[in-house]
């Protein structure tokens, strides 16, 4: 396992600080003044505390104490900012920065470590208290958030990442790839070490829920009243989908021996009060997504044929013939597509870049079907619909296990 290398200067500062109770680390680009302002606000609202707290944020300028830090129990620490790449590399940069924070937490021997997004919307006292409550009071090794998102938000997570993680590792975590999370001292060391070795080490994403589930560590979820806005400018859906799903498939390969033994899934304890979604959710026109699916169906048949079994191809052909009003992709079909793509990724049936690129029209087909189905549903009903999808992932897991173990066996 590879470990994040911190510069000597940062290590010296960490040694000077000694062990701490809580490390609050921010990943991503953040202005020092803006960060100090928010940190000062949090410090003031937390009031006098016996705990030693360290705030870590990325930057290359020499650190200094925030102006309103009350005493020596609160310290600010800067760590080197990860080099920023193209827009599509957002998640890779995030994982790199998150690993740096976890490495600092391990070196500081921090009792709890909270990793927060650079937009600082979660850097307020309620969120921090909620995350610390689950981490310290409830002794969860990992605390992940539940965001108040609408039924049309975070669809890669809802349609693939969350149900796939749940089916594979047996833990019902709503956001397996969260913007912020809290970890215990034990898990922060484990996660800092979780980078893949070799020349892909700094390109792998961080999946805290997967690592915690594999270690059978206690996981908790908290409702956070936080709205993140992911800048989509310059981001291509196919690139992001390939990056996120490709990383999930790599994790599947790494932990294949463990997830094949997992049956069903466990409920994750959740604390806090859910906040209603922010905007009114009017129906969305699914026609452009259906068109993308049809274009893929017309042109990518030769690629899909290498990955999907004949029965799935037949169902996709039937789907392509449906009118836009009747367009509906069954859960089982979608789940089997994801599982077959995961298997092809492992077997390298075709180039991985091509494979993940060929998934985009199918994903848009699922999105179109989902959007049409939930257009007249309430938020709660849409959540129930996603729960039904997650159960389909679990129900079809034997299909995945069988194909994973005996890929050459006849599969009609």
């Amino acid at each position: 396992m590879a470990r994040v290398e911190l510069p000597e200067e940062t290590k010296r500062r960490i040694e000077a600080i000694g062990s701490v109770d809580v490390l609050i680390g921010v990943w991503g680009t953040v202005g020092r003044d803006g960060f100090y302002e928010r940190a000062a606000q949090v410090i003031a609202e937390l009031g006098e505390t016996a705990q030693k707290i360290v705030f870590a944020f990325p930057g290359d300028t020499p650190p200094e104490q925030p102006p309103s830090a009350p005493d020596s129990t609160v310290v600010c620490l800067q760590y080197p900012s990860p080099s920023s790449g193209p827009a599509g590399e957002l998640w890779i940069e995030a994982a790199s920065a998150q690993r740096s924070i976890l490495e600092i937490a391990a070196l500081l021997n921090a009792g709890s470590c909270l990793v927060l997004n650079a937009d600082l919307v979660a850097l307020h006292v309620q969120s921090i208290q909620m995350l610390l409550y689950a981490s310290v009071e409830k002794q969860c090794d990992l605390v992940t958030p539940i965001y108040p998102v609408g039924k049309y938000d975070g669809l890669i997570n809802s349609g693939i990442l969350s149900p796939l993680t749940r089916a594979l590792y047996g833990r019902r975590v709503r956001y397996p790839l969260p913007f912020e999370f809290g970890v215990s001292a034990r898990l922060s060391t484990r996660l800092a070490l979780s980078a893949r070795s070799g020349n892909q080490a700094d390109r792998s994403l961080l999946w805290p829920a997967t690592v915690a589930a594999i270690d059978a560590a206690p996981i908790g979820q908290v409702y956070l009243d936080v709205h993140h806005h992911v800048p989509t400018e310059g981001l291509e859906l196919s690139v992001v989908l390939a990056q996120l799903v490709g990383s999930a498939f790599l994790e599947m390969e790494q932990y294949a021996a463990q997830w094949q033994r997992v049956r069903a899934s466990q409920q994750t304890p959740t604390w806090g009060t859910p906040t209603p979604p922010p905007v009114s959710e009017e129906p969305i026109d699914a026609k452009p997504m259906i068109d993308s699916f049809l274009l893929g169906s017309k042109n990518l048949d030769e690629v899909w044929r290498l990955v999907l079994p004949p029965v799935t191809l037949l169902e996709l052909k039937h789907l392509a013939r449906q009118s836009p009003e009747q367009f509906r992709m069954p859960d089982t079909l979608w789940v089997k597509i994801v599982y077959d793509f995961a298997l092809a990724h492992r077997l390298r049936t075709i180039s991985r870049t091509h494979l993940l690129g060929a998934l985009t029209p199918l994903y848009l087909g699922w999105v179109a079907s989902y959007v049409r189905e939930v257009s007249n549903m309430t938020h709660a009903a849409a959540e129930q619909r996603l729960e039904q999808l997650a159960r389909a992932y679990e129900d079809n897991k034997p299909y995945l296990v069988s194909r994973w173990r005996w890929p050459d066996r006849f599969n009609p």
Binding site: L235, L300, S351, R352, V367
Partner: protein, 234 residues
């Protein structure tokens, strides 16, 4: 007269049989050399395969992003290396066989001619292999990227890329083998130039009005404020 015919037939039969008798040891030597190298190739390929599996060569190679597996995903690096070793020894066996044939049949000049041509054949084979792999990979890349960009002519674009690379490869291979002489270069130049000219004329003349109308429309269009997206994938 019949005697003369019979005599000439008899003489020609004797000459042919003599020729075969002279060539036979050479052919036998060729087959024996080939069989020996076939066994050596098979044994060495098996040995290499076992060693590569023992050192987990595929896993080590699979960790990179630009690995062999990305280009030829159906073949593992181990399989590729063992096949290269096997066919390498078969080719050496063929060369040894040709030399043995020459020595056994006292036919001078065959091996010298073949040996002088071998570097060209190897170069051409490598060009052909690289061109085929590149053509297939790039055409599939173009197809998938075009579909994801919602281009309705994705397949035509992909086929165009594939045939462009195949034609270029074929021209390079023939040139490398010194076959066809200047005809290949000339034909290739005319073909490529013709395609570019046809495209230029098609766009320049055929679509002139379309392009000007499109530009006018763009210029006249008021600046639109994009509506906020209501569907978020991430």
């Amino acid at each position: 007269m019949w005697n003369q015919v019979e005599q000439s037939l008899h003489q020609s039969m004797v000459r042919v049989i003599n020729k075969i008798a002279i060539l036979l040891p050479g052919i036998l030597a060729f087959i024996v050399a080939l069989l020996i190298f076939l066994v050596i190739a098979w044994a060495l390929a098996m040995l290499a395969r076992r060693i590569l599996i023992a050192v987990k060569f595929d896993e080590r190679m699979g960790k990179g992003t630009g690995t062999i597996a990305e280009w030829t995903p159906r073949y593992t690096p181990t399989l590729l290396i063992t096949r290269v070793i096997f066919w390498g020894f078969i080719i050496i066996g063929l060369l040894v066989g040709v030399s043995a044939f020459e020595a056994g049949s006292s036919e001078a000049g065959i091996s010298a001619y073949i040996f002088s041509y071998i570097p060209r054949i190897i170069g051409a084979a490598i060009l052909l292999l690289a061109g085929t792999v590149l053509g297939r990979f790039l055409s599939r890349s173009v197809l998938i990227a075009s579909v994801n960009l919602n281009l309705s002519y994705a397949r035509i674009l992909s086929m165009g890329v594939r045939w462009l690379i195949f034609v270029l490869t074929a021209a390079m291979v023939l040139d490398h083998l010194a076959l066809g002489g200047e005809i290949v270069e000339l034909a290739f130049g005319i073909l490529f130039g013709g395609i570019v000219l046809a495209l230029a004329l098609a766009v320049g003349l055929g679509s002139r009005d379309l392009v000007s109308r499109s530009l006018e429309r763009e210029a006249a269009r008021p600046v639109e404020v994009p509506a906020p997206e209501r569907l978020h994938h991430f």
